[in-house]
Homo-oligomer: 234 residues x 2
């Protein structure tokens, strides 16, 4: 079971897929990136993740691992000789896992909600929710980074990956809605962190250009509108 | 920071709180169980878990750890001298984490949905969803237990705790709705496992009697009905 026997089933615009790819890059593991076609699911995906039928799936030595944060922990444990992704202290690990779960389950769904908000009031409320979340994350960054550039200290770690994968889509929201989410006054630590994260060798070739994501966002929005529209009359 | 300096903020009927308590019992860690009052949140809870304001919280040496599965991993890492809760093999760990997340995020919400279903059709659909989930878990049990009594082998592990904590509420559903969820024909492995799990020394004093949970379920249902009822007319 060599390192070359690693595949990632994914799609390039997916922040969750990015988590797996950044973790593999950090460990200098070569992998084959098998892209799913938008709007359909490959036989290999359905076989590898029959419960959720979702990307990413990491296939290592023919065995599938599903769910992005579980994949990141798996990579950290299997290629233990590379730089450590999870913090070594149990309390720091628990804290990193807490914020990673918060980002995945609360903060990112809020950010997705900005685009789906009905009316200006609802949109304003959604933006406020996202901004409040970022204030919490700025505070978490101060505590976790301990004066360094990353949540993980002087190297990218679990929480950097869990949060950083959404920076492309955060910029899409800023652009499409004419708002500023990461802000020099309110989240100065995160502003600096975001730049460092996106420029990191393990990230820069995996993080899509904002304009390409904007195109995807427009296609998705058009599809959502078409699905919600009443059927054409005769 | 001694072992005696361990507190759990919780409520006895909560399956999530049970996870933390079983993990501490497995590691033979003494702890103080601080129960929240139903319908209100203590100052200590609000301070310890300001983001989610939810139990359980483990307080160890004055520092809070939140989210039940994160607490279980923390306990496993801190009291590493006791029996291991997570499997030692990275692939087995990833598999245990996968099913623990499935149970928490998909299966348990489905089971909760049985009681809230509107009409017989919806109730039937909810029961079917839960039963399908149990068939998946029966399969996972066969693979994971490798002929032993627990998901974790011959000792209770992470997935046993993550799933087993819901057995009390599963029995409440069986009783209140006159159905059989764990079934000798369809889930023979899980039937045997459930008995062994509930009789285990680390579990038996923490798992509430079904009749007591039924009382709680009735109170919760009455509250939900009252909240949904139209205001009384003059």
């Amino acid at each position: 079971m060599g390192e070359s026997d690693v595949k990632v089933l994914g799609m390039w615009p997916s922040p969750f897929v990015m988590r797996a790819r950044i973790a593999l890059n950090l460990k200098s593991v070569d992998y084959e990136f098998l892209q799913e076609t938008f709007g359909s699911k490959s036989e290999l995906l359905l076989q590898s993740n029959p419960v959720h039928k979702k990307v990413p799936v990491l296939i290592h030595g023919g065995k599938p691992v599903c769910e992005s944060l579980i994949i990141v922990e798996y990579i950290d444990e299997v290629w233990a000789s590379g730089p450590s992704i999870l913090p070594s202290d149990p309390y720091d690990r628990a804290t990193a896992r807490f914020w990673a779960a918060y980002i995945s389950e609360k903060w990112y769904p809020s950010m997705k909600g900005i685009g789906f908000a009905q009316g200006e009031e609802a949109k304003k409320a959604a933006i406020e929710q996202v901004t409040e979340g970022l204030a919490l994350l700025e505070e978490a960054f101060e505590k976790s980074s301990k004066g360094n550039v990353f949540f993980g200290g002087d190297e990218i770690g679990y929480l950097d990956i869990a949060f950083g994968c959404f920076l492309g889509w955060l910029r899409v929201n800023e652009k499409l809605h004419g708002i500023k989410l990461l802000d020099q006054t309110k989240t100065p630590g995160l502003v600096k962190w975001a730049d460092k994260f996106c420029a990191h060798a393990a990230v820069k070739d995996v993080m899509p250009e904002t304009d390409k994501l904007v195109e995807i966002a427009k296609i998705l929005a058009a599809k959502a509108r078409a699905a919600a529209a009443p059927p054409p009359s005769n």
